[in-house]
Point group: C3
Chain length 312, copies 3
């Protein structure tokens, strides 16, 4: 099937554009595979449907195609476009805006602007971070979304969904482990749904089994650390202490460094530290009322990848 | 007249120093012309006089000459000094300090320190930003002034003018458009005065007609966007949603990129995004009570200029 | 004695590790001398004992050896390890954690994680800052500690010592000068003790007399400036307006630049500005309740050292 598809992509511009978008959906988990992306999109629609807010899924799809299209418009590097490196920030902006803004035409205006800006920011940030050999990762999504949400507070015609603090849910039991691990994986796309998490995991595994193993490891390590330090049990239960560590685990443990025992220990330490950064950013951002999104992952990934040049 | 003046500047050190300062006054709008600078200075004095706070104008003049003098003292690049590239941050610091601090000897101490630091910060920031081919722009003014204002909160002998939030003024009518556009241009120098705005515009036009057209375009686009999103009408009316977009328009649309239809659309999108960044920074800085100054412009300009290396 | 020790260090790994750690203790004051470091450690134990919180001293020692050990583990540059360039951030993390967190097993878990992360952050930050020829200085200590303290707010099992704002103590008299100068020097290691400050000063002087002179100058200048601007007298009296200026004075005036009259004036201006940055960061960080630590020094040092490339 891959060969047939690849041939089609090489010959047909529409198929090529579709392929770039599907790979963009998979790049959030640092995978480069259109079938992984297709399955992730399906899982997002399932999760959004289950939560009764399909706009999250339509927004994600819209953010994906807009950001990829803007990259073509700005004549960005074609190979990067094809690998989906402009779409993965757009899909996240597109999922985040309907999550935090009330359904309203102005919400869609913000979503379109945000998706377009995420591509410009991808170019700007990668121009800076490549100086030290690290990627911009999801930083364009984070900064774009945080700016849009802060702006919405000042705009009467762009209403925000009231932020509710995670309630301190009942104590967490070992039997809750499976669900929390799955939700931690699904929260990477701002969705708290067990089925979505399992589908994401399968989608990752069909491209890279090691990445899937580390995704689960990241979710487990972050769960143990968050419970151990006494983090808010409602937030833990929703997977909100896990999604950043899932990405750290895949990035540091499976994708960016050559596998070795040393790298595995280094990655586990990075997962532990991601939970601390998550808690820190939750505290730091509370006064201005914006979510940390995947910033704990991005900061930790930079922190643990930047020393490489020295370590070699 | 230009030739006579240029000859004098080449022969006479005092005229050279005066020329560098006048160009510094014009560089706030990214122009390099002593007559533009002279007219801008006159317009600042008019606006400060009209507002009954001449210290803003004397402070601006003092900031200008001090920052330029410190650049000479530190043996900065003579060509940059002559183009006024050290004065334009100093003039802005000098206008901002008497705007936000109560008239008092300590205010002048802060102003002198701030003007001197702005030159050191200009050297420091340009050393960093030139790595990626962008200028430091008004970042030295912004960071110096914000630091001084934050410090004043902790110093009993350096009293701050009480910050009043912009009241929600009556609704904005199309007939208010001209005044708001003019005030948006005048607010670049922290002055809300229609005559000053018109004089600024003429001063820009005598050096670069395209810059003047884009200044007006930036003011109009930001007005429409701010009204459309439902921003605070008092702030819009005072020109506070416009001054950053005016600078973005001049920078991205007229000065930093070669004119083309694509650049014009790119610049219009940058102006729209400047309004969002302005609203976002107003929200983000509210808990610590400092103004965003021209940071919305600088961030947007960096965002839209940094991809260039990739786009080529 | 130095020769005997150097021979031992060259032959014996344990002595080499001890030497690296002692130099690490001295590098906080930008000195590279094991005897200076030994005396500083002794002075820390004295100060912690006098304050009835010996965990600060044991924490400092633990942070020192852990961060140095992690640098060896990560195969960092051996010459840098030997000079103590990985230990000085660890010793500060180790002193800060027991200062701000309640004595508790989780406090020690945080301390160990923090010391290890400070080494990774030292590699990451120096990789960035060396692009412009400046050192990362104590930035790894600052960011690690601030992250850990912000995280502790969100963790029920990692209790924070309640932050008390510095009370406005009685007015400061010239006769208080000696004690405040000494406490300013001791506060570099988060200790407010006159004897510790005097011992620190002697320890610096046995390696570099000029550094000791500038340390005193930094403490005096910051005292005069803070009193003049009307800063909180309790904070001034505790040395909290002095420690950053002490480091700025040593760095800009004695270590990083070749001595000259110009450099001395430049350094004095840097000391004055450090006090303003200190006040500004105190204000800016109040809403999220974290201490500025030595960030005023690091920001000022970067600001005043970054222009160098241009000034030459």
């Amino acid at each position: 099937m891959n060969k047939v598809w690849d041939d089609l992509v090489a010959r047909n511009q529409v198929a090529g554009y579709l392929d770039a978008n599907l790979r963009g959906a998979s790049q959030v988990f640092l995978q480069d595979n259109p079938w992984t992306g297709l399955m992730i999109l399906a899982a997002i629609f399932w999760g959004a449907h289950a939560a009764g807010n399909l706009e999250v899924a339509f927004g994600a799809a819209a953010g994906l195609v807009i950001s990829t299209f803007v990259a073509i418009l700005l004549r960005a590097d074609p190979a990067s476009i094809q690998q989906g490196l402009f779409g993965f920030n757009g899909i996240l902006v597109g999922a985040a805006i309907p999550t935090y803004l009330v359904s309203h035409p102005a919400m869609w205006v913000f979503l379109v602007i945000g998706a377009a800006v995420s591509t410009i920011l991808t170019l700007a940030i990668s121009n800076i971070t490549q100086t030290w050999g690290v990627s911009g990762s999801t930083a364009p999504f984070i900064f774009t979304t945080q700016l849009l949400l802060l702006a919405a507070s000042a705009f009467a015609n762009v209403p925000l969904v009231p932020m509710q603090g995670a309630a301190n849910a009942p104590a967490i039991w070992p039997s809750d482990g499976f669900d929390i691990v799955a939700r931690s994986i699904s929260q990477v796309h701002l969705i708290g749904n067990v089925v979505t998490g399992v589908l994401f995991l399968i989608a990752i595994a069909i491209n890279s089994f090691r990445s899937a193993v580390f995704a689960v490891l990241g979710a487990i390590v972050s769960l143990v650390v968050a419970v151990g330090f006494g983090a808010n049990s409602g937030a833990i239960s929703a997977g909100l202490y896990g999604y950043s560590a899932v990405l750290t685990a895949i990035a540091v443990g499976a994708v960016l460094n050559r596998p070795s025992t040393g790298v595995t220990f280094y990655a586990i330490f990075a997962m532990i530290f991601t939970v601390i950064v998550q808690a820190a950013l939750n505290t730091a951002m509370a006064p201005i009322g914006i979510p940390a999104l995947t910033l704990p992952y991005v900061l930790t990934m930079w922190l643990f990848q930047l020393p490489k040049a020295e370590r070699r």
